[in-house]
Every structure is written in structure tokens, then in C-alpha cells.
Amino acid sequence: MTSASPSLAPIPSASTEPSAFAEISQETLALTRRLFVQLARRPSTLVAGVLQPLIWLVLFGALFANAPEGLLPGGISYGRFLGAGVIVFTAFSAALNAGLPVMFDREFGFLNRLLVAPLRSRSSIVFASVLYITSLSLVQSLAIMATAALLGYGWPGGAGLLLVLVTLLLLVFAVTALSLGLAFALPGHIELIAVIFVANLPLLFASTALAPISFMPPWLGWLAALNPLTFAIEPIRAAYAGSFRLTDVVLVAPYGSLNAATCLAILAGLAAGLFLLIRPMLDRKLT
């Protein structure tokens, strides 16, 4: 212990404020780094997260392997049809769980540490989760796509890959925002897990992940055509089928036909809307 360390003297606060961008990036990167360090030291989530969709792909693909030729629109094989659904569902599940670490931070009091710090924007907490989940989803998606290619279900190619990336980013942003909003609004992790549990599988079955709308009774077709997952699945499926033009029609819904650009715009709108919705929740207590 030093007796007269000058380090203890307080400093006057800086008179000029650095740019918001620099500060928000510093906060966001630091929070993201924390999530990645946690992942590196506890890799089980990553291992499980990569294995699970592969199991989905292999099992579901095998389940419908003997489906009659020409059953699906465009005459593609079920495995090829399924790939897009599994990619989107995997990213969706990961993003839906994004609120859990934040909820645990809340319960253990770690969040107070973040909230008592002069964060330039508390949105940094959202951005960090989005960065982390998106990177994780990309790793998972690449594993799924590689496995799908090995199983002979095809490969989307360079431009298709870009489309996959953009679509996932939008979906992950929207769902992460939703999950973080729940993590702030619900009383505890039990309730959050309950909501995740109830939302997860029904959203999968009420989407075009496992079957096209043409297979569904009208009421389910409507649900699927309004389900955000569908707006992410169809552009990716189109990319797998070799269509990379944003103007190509990718979804034939009961209310009309949508092209890829419209699907992406809907996802972007959803992401922006949910983000604006949870912003006040982050600042709820003061301001």
C-alpha cells in the first residue's frame, strides 16, 4: 500500500464531450467482449447451438425423405426446402433467448453496475446483445449450410450468402430487442423462460419453415403469412433456389404476393419498431 499515491486525487470532469459514436462504440465493444469471453470459457451453449439445428436438419430431412416427387412448389426436395427454415429458426431461437443473460444480470445486481456507469446510451446493452447473437447465428448458419450442402441440399452462392446475412441480421435485431424488452418488463427469469417456451415452437409451426403455405388450411396460412419468421425464411429459400433479385416474388400469401425487398423491409420495420418500443424501458427509472 502506498501512502501518498497521487492516483487517489479526483479529477475535474472533462469540459468537452467526446463524440457520441466513439463513446457508444467503446461501451458496446466492451459489453460484447464480455459476452464472448463468457462464451469462450463456457462453450457448451455454442456446441449445443451448432449441434441442435444439425439434428433438426438431419432428422426432419429424413422424416420427409420419401415425400412424393413434385409435392413441393418448384419440385425441390424436402431437404432443400427445409434448410432455410432451420437457419431462420435457429437464429430466431438464439435471439429469443438473448434476454436471459440480461435477466440474470438484473437478478444478480450486475446490471446496476452498468446503469450506474455514465453510459452514453443504454442502447449499447441492446447493440452488444445483437452483435453477439448475430455472430453466433452466423456460425450456426454456416454450419447448417455446410451440412445441407454435404447432404446434397445445395448451396446459395456468394450473393445468396449476402442475402442470408442481411436477412438474419434484421430478424436477430428485431427478436433480440423483443427479448431484452421482456427481460426488463417481466419480474424474473422464470417468467421469461415461460414466455420463451410458449412463443418458440408455435412460431415455428405457424411459419413456412416446415411446410409451404399451400399445404396449410386457410387460417394457418394467414397466420404463417403474417409471421415474421416467414418474411425471413422466404428470401433465404429463394436464394437457395438461385434467385437473388430483390424484385423476385418470394412469398405467395393469401393477401397477395410479396417480393424479397418487401419481406426485408417488413423485417427492418419490425426491428426499428421493437427497438423504439424498448428504448423507454431501458431509461424507465430516470429521465
Partner: protein, 340 residues
């Protein structure tokens, strides 16, 4: 430096009986002082500090730190403050050093400064031996030192600590006390809450005693104790007396010259607390008790302590107050409010 004015905060409501955590609490902490907030558990200390640190909004009242309104400009106040919370929240997976680096980034410190400052604090708080181990393996004392380092990282002008030494080993406590005194000597305003009398007595330049969400006494420890005057005497005629006997003794004592404020303390087996003007009075007392054929099981005499200040103001000792308060707090609701 810190001005809390007419703070009120109520917890609970619809389902549970509301608890008035703060009831028109006002407090003024001079710049550069080490200020103690003394009170039993549940007196409102933590609530007051959480409001000061912008983690909780008061129902009514004003908060100013260095002239900045904490309710209007919370971020400015967060820059000025270092806060060491009661429940130390750390990330078990990160090492202590990684946690400090994270904290530095959250305060937007430049990279070079971050490294230098972390190294300084590691040395100051004697953390070299274990700082690169994961936080999950730390003892309570290590966690508290790490948390103090995290609170000091950005060189705050005001350091706020909530019960910083509860349950700590003697070495960690001594380290923390020493650092707090150094900080004060070098110009940092330090505000700490405690329900340890001796801690506040030993450290604080000034203190406020809080009870039931309001300030019931304020001043320097010496002035508060001096204002009471006389010596404190605790007398027991038997290990466990009864009300009848106690009131008999009380009547006898009240008749003596130089004795004042005779209080029967039921919580402690009907012992008697009294104030005597000088030591001679105690001898007289012994004679009188012997003449009345009352035994003396125990008789303790001491200079007034902060507990006497508390006793004088509230009619009960600090430890009795903690017991009575424990029953009427709604910890679940408080926890819910504290979980952001």
C-alpha cells in the same frame, strides 16, 4: 458537495402494506469530508444512496451532487460518482482485471489510462496475487476490494459506499478503512453507510443518524457525544429481572443526586440505563443499593457512545432497533424495486 432535500420514497402498494423507506430526509455532505450514515438495518440508508446514485427515483425531493441536479441530469452525476453497492455484483466468469477493464470502458477511459489506472488500483488495494483469477473464486473481502477499485477507477469526486465492511475479514477492513481515509485526505468526498457504530465513530468527520427514513441527529461524532454529557451506566440487579423489580430500582435511582435519564430496557432483561454526572455518583449508588438489599449482578460505566446518541433520540439501542425493523420490511418488494 451532496445535497439531499426532502426525499420521500415509499415501497409496496396495491398488494402489500406500503413501507415508507424515506420520510422527508434531508442531508448535506460538505466537500472533502468523510461522511457517515449511521442507522439500523431498514432505516433507509440504502434507499437514500440508491437515489443519490440515480438507480432509483424518489417520490418527492431534490438531489444535487456538486451543483448538478441528479434527477434532471443523471448521466452527469454518474460521471462524478463512484458507487460501491452493498450486494457486490460481479461476473463470476471474468477475472478481476477483465472486470476493471470493462468498467473502464463503460466510463469511456482511453486505453492507455485504463491500463495505468488498473495497475495503480491493483497495487493500492493489494490485489496482485489474485486479480487474474476468475471472480467466482474470490472471498468476500476480495470481492469488496475489487468493487472498491471499480468504484474508484474513473477518479470520481464523490465515492459512495453502502455498508462497505459488512462481514469482512480484519485485513480487508483495515485496507478499506485506510484507502477511504487517504481518499478523503486527497480531496475526495466520501459518503458511507454503516450500522457499525465503531466504524462510523472511527472514520467519519461528520455523521447523520437515520431512523425510520429521516435524520434524527447530525454533527461530528465528538459533538454528538459531547452534547449528551455525563457517563453512561448500565445496571443489572439480577441477570433476568422483572418489571416490578426494575421499577423499584428505577425509583430508587431517580431519587439519587447526580443521576438522570433512568430508562428501563426491557429488551435486555429489564436492565437499567442511566446517566451519571461523575464517577463519585456510582459509588453512592452502590451504597444505596446495598442498603436497600438489592444485589448488583452487573454494573458497567462508559463514556457516551454513538449508541447513546441513538438511544437518546429514539429510546432504544441500535441493535434493538434492527430486530424490530426486521419484521416490517418487505424484502421481496425492495428486491423487486432494486432489480432494474
Amino acid at each position: 458537495m451532496i445535497e439531499l432535500q426532502h426525499l420521500s420514497k415509499r415501497f409496496g402498494g396495491r398488494k402489500v402494506e406500503p413501507v415508507q423507506a424515506l420520510d422527508d430526509l434531508s442531508l448535506s455532505v460538505p466537500a472533502g469530508s468523510l461522511y457517515g450514515l449511521l442507522g439500523p438495518n431498514g432505516a433507509g440508508k440504502t434507499t437514500a444512496l440508491r437515489i443519490l446514485c440515480t438507480l432509483l427515483a424518489p417520490d418527492a425531493g431534490q438531489v444535487q451532487v456538486a451543483g448538478v441536479d441528479a434527477l434532471a441530469e443523471p448521466r452527469k452525476v454518474r460521471r462524478l460518482l463512484g458507487y460501491v453497492a452493498q450486494d457486490v455484483a460481479i461476473d463470476k466468469i471474468l477475472s478481476g482485471r477483465e472486470l476493471l477493464h470493462l468498467q473502464a470502458d463503460l466510463h469511456h477511459m482511453p486505453a492507455a489510462d485504463r491500463l495505468a489506472r488498473t495497475a495503480e488500483l491493483i497495487e493500492l488495494l493489494a490485489m496482485e496475487a489474485w486479480i487474474d483469477r476468475r471472480c467466482g473464486s474470490y472471498s468476500g473481502g476480495m470481492r469488496r476490494r475489487l468493487d472498491l477499485a471499480a468504484g474508484l477507477l474513473h477518479r470520481p469526486r464523490v465515492l459512495v459506499l453502502d455498508e462497505p465492511t459488512v462481514g469482512l475479514d480484519i485485513e480487508s477492513r483495515a485496507t478499506i478503512w485506510q484507502v477511504l481515509q487517504q481518499l478523503r485526505d486527497q480531496g475526495t468526498t466520501v459518503l458511507l453507510s454503516s450500522h457499525y457504530l465503531e466504524e462510523v465513530d472511527a472514520l467519519a468527520d461528520r455523521l447523520a443518524i437515520i431512523d425510520g427514513g429521516r435524520v434524527i441527529a447530525e454533527g461530528t461524532p465528538a459533538a454528538l457525544k459531547g452534547a449528551l454529557g455525563g457517563d453512561r451506566v448500565t445496571l443489572r440487579v439480577r441477570e433476568f429481572s422483572d418489571e416490578q423489580e426494575a421499577s423499584r430500582v428505577r425509583d430508587l435511582l431517580q431519587a439519587c443526586r447526580g443521576v438522570r435519564q433512568v430508562v428501563v430496557n426491557r429488551a435486555q432483561g429489564y436492565s437499567l440505563n442511566l446517566v451519571v454526572e461523575d464517577s463519585g455518583v456510582v459509588e453512592t449508588l452502590r451504597h444505596q443499593l446495598a442498603e436497600a438489599q438489592l444485589p448488583v449482578f452487573a454494573l458497567a460505566q462508559s463514556r457516551p457512545s454513538l449508541d447513546d446518541v441513538y438511544l437518546q433520540a429514539t429510546g432504544r439501542t441500535l441493535s434493538d432497533a434492527e430486530l424490530s425493523v426486521a419484521g416490517r420490511r418487505d424484502l421481496k418488494e425492495e428486491r423487486k424495486q432494486s432489480m432494474r
